[in-house]
Amino acid sequence: MTRRRDLFPYLLLLPALALTLAIVAWPLAETFRLSFTDASMKPVTTYVGFANYAKIFRSGFEEIIGRTLLWASLSVSLKILLGLLVAVLLNAAVPGRALFRILVMPPWIVPIAIGVFMWSWMYNGQFGMISGLLQRFGLISEPFEFMAYGTSSFIATVVTDVWIGVPLVSLYFLAAMQGISKELYEAAWVDGASRLYRFRRVTLPLLLPSIATMALLSAIWTFNSFDIIWILTEGGPRGATTTMIIDTYKTAISRFRYGEGAARAVLILLFLSAFTSVYVYLLLRLTRKGGTHD
């Protein structure tokens, strides 16, 4: 009877465990297995050892890793900075605050594909708003196609990603700010602390764990961001916006090289796992420091 009672909680966990195995563990294991094969459209698949991994690094993958890191770090930094700024503004006691809080939401509410198509038109040289305005103000003499050049395409994809990501970040920070006790601000105010000083010494330290958490989540999302780049540039021109996830998709899905694509996916997984481990370690240290903040 006791033994039965001991097993019962584990039996209750079984459905969840089975589901996790089916939708997480099995695909993951299958990806690892595929990465050691030459799986493609061919009916026969052969074991190739580490050949797919060796091939990746012979094909200039380091450049793609560097580009991905640059793209993600630029985008995450801007989202955090702008998100913080917007949260501070939305937290300020101004008339119509509720309206401003609603107005900040559209980029996040609008389906991503529609938002990105809108930006795609804005970046168009012949019919787009940005090129049109630049021409009207005499800053350029002829239409500028943002998607035709490597640097402008890269910046355009970052800007679009930031536009879509800022509302969520700012709402998260706003919620965290509203959890900070008003008494702390009142005490600082009584001590004669200026607005900027209160932000630096009260708001920012207490927001630090939230900032760190959001930065980690945002980094993972941004690192794996596919739809924005794919809709805008498909990784072009000449690979200027090809990040690791775009390269993986092109290899596995567009070129039907499933084995090589799986090897890339495994590398992304290892990369993100390492990044997350370091980040969590630093976060814990930071949080502990935050706890002893004087």
Binding site: M41, K42, N124, G125, F144, E145, A148, E234, R238, Y258
Partner: protein, 402 residues
């Protein structure tokens, strides 16, 4: 009353059973249901369904950028559609992967196709699809812009040199771009360049499939493209061919190349048509490009799907589709002479057929396209010299063949 109810229920059950007994043939198409060919094909399918009541055809239309990938991915997941509309360049890969079934054609059926058309779906001595859409390309030129630039308007440019001179004059004197170059990371960037490459006597592979890309003719063609880019619309890398159509219709570009359907998309432009001009080392030519209906293997309905594909592509039905889509007629039917007599603008597209070359067939056609697009983009942007770009592309193509 009860008896009547029972009888009615019996009839309804019978109808429902009969409906369930129908086998569905999934047919993936590229484009949209608003394409001019869609209602014609739907009519033909309805006729076939009437003659084959045990089958129902489920047509699915997907955008051009996704349809081929979708059909192939489904086939890879062992959930293939019965048949699909695919670029003929994919048939070699699909055939090599044992995913599609060959099509048997009688000598009479073969004779009704242009030989060069059938070559686009043939390898290993078999035909692997039924050509559905065929295009040759021509040079569209805006007569009003030519006149404004002081250029002759009785006939358009005939050589690379004349194209360059006209593009330069138009850019300098009219404010419009001299030429519309498509150079996006898309299939028609490679296709458009192949028109010029073939018109300069160039090639990608020889009859044995050996890569012949690193040649004097190809370097010349790419150098010409790089030079032409100086007078083209700003940022060619942002444009595929479809995006050039509205620019031509608005008079923002004076020249570009397109298939027969471009005539219906030229707006009110007073335009002329010429065969693709000849390069210094070649004669006027064009890329012969086809899309085909392929039948997937392992669906259990291969026989019916083949029957449907053949039904849809019989000479008369195919001709009806060609006319609706503005496509160059695929099969030799009497009606071809009539449409030329009725609309002489067909002449350049039909006269180009014997001069043209097929799309090169490689198993990894996406990698082939990427290698050639990289060469085109790097030269159009002025980043790499044509000679180096051709050499690099030739090496990449040779790697694909190994």
């Amino acid at each position: 009353m009860q008896l009547k109810t029972l009888l009615l229920a019996g009839v309804l059950s019978g109808v429902a059973f009969a409906a369930q007994a129908q086998t569905t043939l999934t047919f993936i198409n590229c484009g949209g249901k608003d394409d001019p060919t869609a209602p014609v094909q739907a009519k033909h399918i309805a006729e076939w369904e009437k003659a084959n009541p045990t089958f129902r055809v489920a047509e699915e239309y997907l955008p051009w950028g996704q349809c081929q990938e979708r059909a192939t991915t489904l086939a890879g997941a062992r959930n293939a559609p019965a048949l699909a509309y695919m670029g003929s360049r994919t048939v070699r890969m699909l055939g090599a992967a044992d995913m599609i079934v060959p099509v048997s054609l009688s000598d009479e059926e073969k004779a009704s196709y242009e030989q060069s058309v059938l070559a686009t779906v043939s390898f290993d001595g078999k035909e692997w699809g039924l050509p559905r859409a065929f295009s040759t390309k021509a040079l569209y030129w805006n007569k009003d812009l030519f006149a404004k630039a002081g250029l002759p308007t009785d006939k358009g440019p005939q050589t690379f040199e004349e194209v360059l001179a006209a593009a330069k004059a138009i850019k300098e004197k009219t404010g419009a771009a001299g030429f519309g170059i498509p150079a996006a990371s898309f299939d028609n960037t490679m296709h458009e360049f192949l028109n010029w490459l073939y018109s300069n006597g160039g090639s990608v592979v020889d009859a044995e499939g050996k890569v012949t890309f690193d040649s004097k003719e190809n370097v010349e063609a790419l150098e010409f493209y790089g030079e032409l880019a100086k007078y083209a619309q700003p940022g060619p890398v942002a444009y595929d061919r479809a995006k050039l159509e509205p620019l031509f219709a608005e008079g923002a570009i004076a020249m570009y190349t397109n298939g027969g359907w471009g005539r219906a998309r030229a707006g009110n432009v007073n335009y002329g048509l010429e065969m693709i001009p000849a390069g210094p080392s070649g004669k006027k030519s064009t890329l012969l490009i086809t899309d085909s209906i392929v039948v997937f293997k392992g669906t259990g309905v291969e026989e019916a799907a083949l029957d449907l594909a053949k039904y849809l592509t019989t000479p008369e039905r195919q001709f009806e589709i060609d006319v609706a889509g503005g496509w160059t007629p695929i099969r030799n039917v009497a009606g071809v002479k009539d449409i030329v007599a009725k609309d002489p603008s067909w002449t350049v597209f039909i006269d180009a057929i014997p001069t043209g070359g097929p799309e090169p067939l490689m198993v990894d056609y996406i990698a082939m396209q990427d290698a050639m697009n990289e060469a085109i983009q790097s030269v159009v942007t002025g980043d790499v010299a044509a000679k180096d770009a051709v050499k690099k592309a030739a090496e990449a193509l040779a790697d694909l063949n190994n």
